[in-house]
């Protein structure tokens, strides 16, 4: 049996709709119009113990909603979920002591007190035995290199340091399942990298199960072997990161290095010309046609060098998101254009 089992999990919300204008605002006082938003529409997912799974998807895709369902913050409209044999939204203490949710944009530490005090509170709330507590705390602070910051009020810590403390607070009770919602949001590259290394090490040492959502491809490339692409409340893809390219990219990028004097005209016959920088030409060619087209080009032109590449992963995923729009009836977020994944560079 899988550690996490989702079956046809569905969640829809009612959102208040306000029409434009003052008169409409007045009318809204008496009669409100609501719109049904389907945030999650029938998700089936099995996650085995020890997996590190990434949820990838545009804003409003349903990633965070899924994590909220799994951590029991919200009830589903229909469908079922079992995590370690518990139904999350029953919010049993037995379940709540075995998982943790870290949200990059929310903090749970006491602002005016040193992190140490919040940790003590967690020790009590989660009933952590004193020796286990100090052992785990020492381990985590050493791994994240924050031993000297424990006595400093949290409000005086930098964002990166605070995130490390948030992670420690969440991990003190040694949860078996960890939900991470954008854990590196707003952090600089160095801090992001530290957190990635930490998560990777921690996951390997403890063999815990982690579900992560992130907008940073780097997080996902560094951490997760399995990627679940969610868009418009549905799972669009579930598999390896490399597999996304194989299943969804329909073309290859061919870069031709011509002889210095050769003309760069006439290449549009072979495929979509992406870029011409004499003597270099970049073409997009349909996958099945690559071999044939290359032969034709070589027969007609003097080529000094050829490079055949897959399109960048971000681009493939952006395409995948926009395909998902076409494929669904777009009620989830009709006003939102699927955003490409940010900050890859």
């Amino acid at each position: 049996m899988a550690l996490i089992e989702l079956r046809n999990l569905t969640k829809s919300f009612r959102v208040y709709q306000k029409r434009e204008g003052l008169m409409a605002s007045f009318r809204g006082l008496w009669r409100r119009e609501y719109r049904e938003v389907q945030a999650v529409r029938g998700i089936d997912l099995d996650v085995q113990q020890g997996e590190f799974v990434a949820f990838l998807g545009p804003n409003g895709a349903g990633k965070t909603t899924t994590l909220k369902l799994l951590s029991g913050v919200i009830n589903p409209t229909s469908g079922s979920a079992l995590v370690m044999g518990h139904v999350p939204w029953k919010r049993e203490n037995a379940y709540r002591r075995r998982f943790a949710l870290v949200m990059g944009q929310k903090n749970q530490l006491w602002w005016d007190l040193p992190a140490q005090e919040s940790f003590r509170l967690h020790q009590q709330i989660y009933r952590i035995a004193p020796d286990a507590f100090s052992r785990t705390l020492d381990e985590l602070t050493a791994m994240l290199d924050v031993q000297q910051l424990l006595r400093q009020p949290v409000r005086e810590l930098s964002l990166g340091e605070r995130m490390k403390m948030e992670l420690i607070a969440a991990l003190l009770h040694s949860p078996d399942v960890l939900f991470l919602d954008e854990p590196t949001i707003g952090l600089d590259v160095v801090a992001q990298h530290r957190i990635q290394i930490f998560l990777k090490e921690y996951q390997q040492q403890r063999n815990v199960t982690i579900l992560l959502t992130s907008h940073y491809m780097k997080d996902i490339i560094a951490l997760c072997r399995r990627v679940v692409v969610i868009a418009y409340g549905r799972i669009q893809y579930d598999g390896s990161l490399a597999g996304i390219r194989d299943s969804f990219s329909s073309h290859k990028i061919v870069t031709l290095q011509l002889a210095e004097t050769a003309s760069t005209d006439g290449f549009h016959r072979f495929g979509e010309v992406l870029e011409i920088q004499p003597p270099r030409v970049k073409l997009r060619i349909d996958r099945p046609a690559v071999a044939g087209t290359l032969a034709a080009i070589l027969a007609q032109h003097t080529i000094e060098d050829v490079a055949v590449e897959d399109p960048p992963l971000e681009e493939v995923i952006a395409d995948l998101f926009s395909q998902a729009v076409d494929g669904s009836d777009r009620t989830a977020s009709p006003d939102k254009v699927p955003s490409a994944i940010g900050s890859v560079r």
Binding site: R14, S71, W110, L113
Partner: protein, 277 residues
């Protein structure tokens, strides 16, 4: 059971530490609290002077002589030090709006219990700092307690009414804050509550000055038990059967609002988790 007690103690201790970060702020705040009372004393001074035609009257209004009046205001200050809950309702409403309330759904901790403990810690921190200015003011004003100090039984009952005033204030405001699960903005509701409480708790004037039927209505409402009732007990204004009845009504309201807060929380969470979170 012991585990739970340790948990509570830790929450209390940590909340206390947090409060003491701002000790300077509320030492000053405590003294400032006595300022409005001075205006009220002058107001009643003028009232009694006008009755006595230029000379402060020795007579009484609704059973209060001038000295009684001052003692009454000082005592309502004490009741309010127990029953007022600055930032409780608005804090709960804000936590609901910001989604901070999720914390209590995810972690194995009870929100109302947690808030109660942190509020007890706030109060302990507050009294430990405020004791000095309070003692000073009471010492300076000792002349107004013309009827002498009440006997020890009355003092004990006074203490019980103060503790119930604290519980009543806490659960009443917690219930109001939890309304935030239904209405995102509760500011105007809280404003109305503040206004009502200002007049009907006895903070503004001794409630037994009210004519019927208002007096009977106010007697049955919870607000009176936040400020007027403890002060009246201290001054010996309620005694015998009336005192027992008053204590029972106060206890009844405490129980009512404990249940109301629990129900509001359970329903609110249900709505919250159904609606969106």
């Amino acid at each position: 059971m012991i585990g739970r007690a340790v948990t509570w103690w830790t929450i209390l201790r940590i909340a206390l530490e947090e409060r003491l970060v701002y000790r300077g702020d509320f030492a000053l705040g405590t003294l400032m609290r006595f300022l409005p009372i001075i205006t009220q004393i002058f107001l009643w001074w003028a009232v009694f002077e006008s009755i006595g035609e230029g000379q402060r009257s020795e007579g009484s209004i609704a059973g209060y002589r001038f000295e009684n009046m001052v003692a009454y205001y000082l005592l309502t200050m004490v009741s309010r030090a127990f029953s007022s809950m600055p930032g409780l309702a608005s804090g709960i409403a804000r936590q609901i709006r910001d989604g901070e309330v999720k914390k209590y759904l995810i972690q194995p901790v009870d929100m109302i219990g947690f808030l109660l403990l942190t509020r007890i810690a706030h109060k302990i921190a507050y009294y430990s700092v405020a004791l000095l200015p309070f003692a000073l003011v009471f010492y300076l004003c000792r002349g107004f307690f013309v009827d002498g100090w009440p006997d020890s039984t009355t003092l004990l009952i006074f203490l019980a009414t103060l503790i119930m005033a604290f519980l009543l204030g806490f659960f009443l405001e917690a219930t109001l804050g939890l309304i935030g699960f239904w209405f995102l903005e509760v500011t105007s509701l809280l404003f109305i509550y503040m206004l009502l409480s200002f007049f009907l708790s006895g903070h503004m004037f001794p409630l037994d000055m009210l004519p019927e039927p208002w007096l009977s209505i106010v007697n049955l409402m919870p607000l009176k038990y936040l400020a007027f009732f403890p002060a009246a007990v201290f001054l010996g204004k309620v005694q015998g059967a009336e005192l027992v009845q008053g204590l029972m009504i106060q206890a009844g309201w405490v129980v009512f609002f404990i249940i109301a807060a629990r129900v509001a929380f359970a329903r609110g969470v249900k709505r919250y988790s159904g609606f969106g979170g």
